[in-house]
Point group: C2
Chain length 213, copies 2
Amino acid sequence: MVKDILDANEQIAQRNRNLLDSSNLFAVNLMSSPGAGKTSLILQTIKSLKGKIKIGVIEGDVSSSLDAEVIAKEGVPVVQINTGGGCHLDANMLSTALDNMPLKELKLLLIENVGNLICPAEFTLGEHRKVLVSSIPEGDDKPFKYPLMFHKADAVLINKIDLLPYLNFDTQAFSRVVRGMNEKVEIFPISCATGQGIEEWVSWLLSQTSLQV
Amino acid sequence: MVKDILDANEQIAQRNRNLLDSSNLFAVNLMSSPGAGKTSLILQTIKSLKGKIKIGVIEGDVSSSLDAEVIAKEGVPVVQINTGGGCHLDANMLSTALDNMPLKELKLLLIENVGNLICPAEFTLGEHRKVLVSSIPEGDDKPFKYPLMFHKADAVLINKIDLLPYLNFDTQAFSRVVRGMNEKVEIFPISCATGQGIEEWVSWLLSQTSLQV
C-alpha cells in the first residue's frame, strides 16, 4: 500500500516537473524541522534577488497562513497549502498550488514543505532540487537520526550560525557525517538573522539554474 | 483506513495502560521537534530523582541508538526503539518495549517519542501523561502551525530559556496562545543547560503520580 501511494505520487510529480520545465520555472523543495528557518531563508533569498529574478513561493503548513502572510508583504506571488494534519506535502498538493501560480511570469519557485525531518523526504513533488535547512540549536547528531532526509538533499544549509558561541555544535564533524552519507551534497553555513553566508547560498542556487542576474 | 489503524492502536494502548497500572508504573510520553531537548530533559529528570525513584527510559528514533547510549550511562534501564522510517511511536512498539523492561522494579517510565510535532500527537501509547517539549529557537508561532500537539499536551515545557537574550520569543504571548488552545495545560519555562525550572517540572511530575520522595 505504501508502495502504491509512492508510485501514484511519483507519476503526479513527473507531471509537475513537465509543467515546470515547459514554463522555464526552476523549483526548490525546502525542508527542515519546525523552526529551523525555512521562511527566514525564503525572505533572505527574495531580498537578495529583488529586481533581478521573479520569484514565487508556495507555503506548506499543517495549519495557519502565518508564513504566507509574511511572504506576501514582500510583493511576491504566494500560495498557502494547509495539509490539515498531513505531515508532508505531496505531488498532488503541489499540482493544485501550481494551478494558482502565474507560472510563465516566474523564474524561481521556492516551496516550503511542512516542518518535519521524516515524511517530506519520502515524497518527491516534481522539484528540481531538494534543500534541507538544518540549524545549530537542533544539535549536530541529526544526520544519524534522520538519515533519509540528509541522504536525499542536494544542499544542506546550517542555519543560525550566529548562535554558535552559545551552543555545542561541531560544524566540521556535522559536515563530515553529512558528506559521508551523501557525497554530492553542498553544505552552506548561514545565518538568516545576520545575512552571513546568504550570498554563497544564492550563488549556488543560481548556478543550478540557467538564470543570469 | 486511517480510522481502523487508530482504532487498533487504541486497543493496544489500553492493554499497555492496564499493564502499566498493574505494575504501579507511571508513564510519560515526551514529544517535541527534533533537537528541542527531550533527551536532555530525561537526563535532568534522572539527576533530580536519583536515589529517590526508580526510573526506566524508552528511546524512540527513526534510526541510531545514540540517545539510549547516553541514557544507559546513567545506570537506568533503557530500551531503544528504531522505527526504521516511521515518524512516530505507536502502541504496538511500546508493547514490545515494555516486554523488555523490568516493570515491577520501576516507578516512573519516560518515553521519548520520535522528534516530530505532527504524527506522534495522533497515536496514544497507553501513557498517563503527554508532555510537549517546545524550545525558544523554534519560535513562538508553533502552536498555530501544529495545533493538535499543543491541544493534547498535559504539560508544555519551554526549553532553552537560557537563549532568550539572543532570540525573539515572546514567552507570555506563547503561553497565552497555548492556554487558549488547551485550558488545562501546565506550562514550565526551563533550561536543561542551566537546570533552571527543572525543580518545578519535577515537582509537577511527582504531583501527577502517587509517588513520594
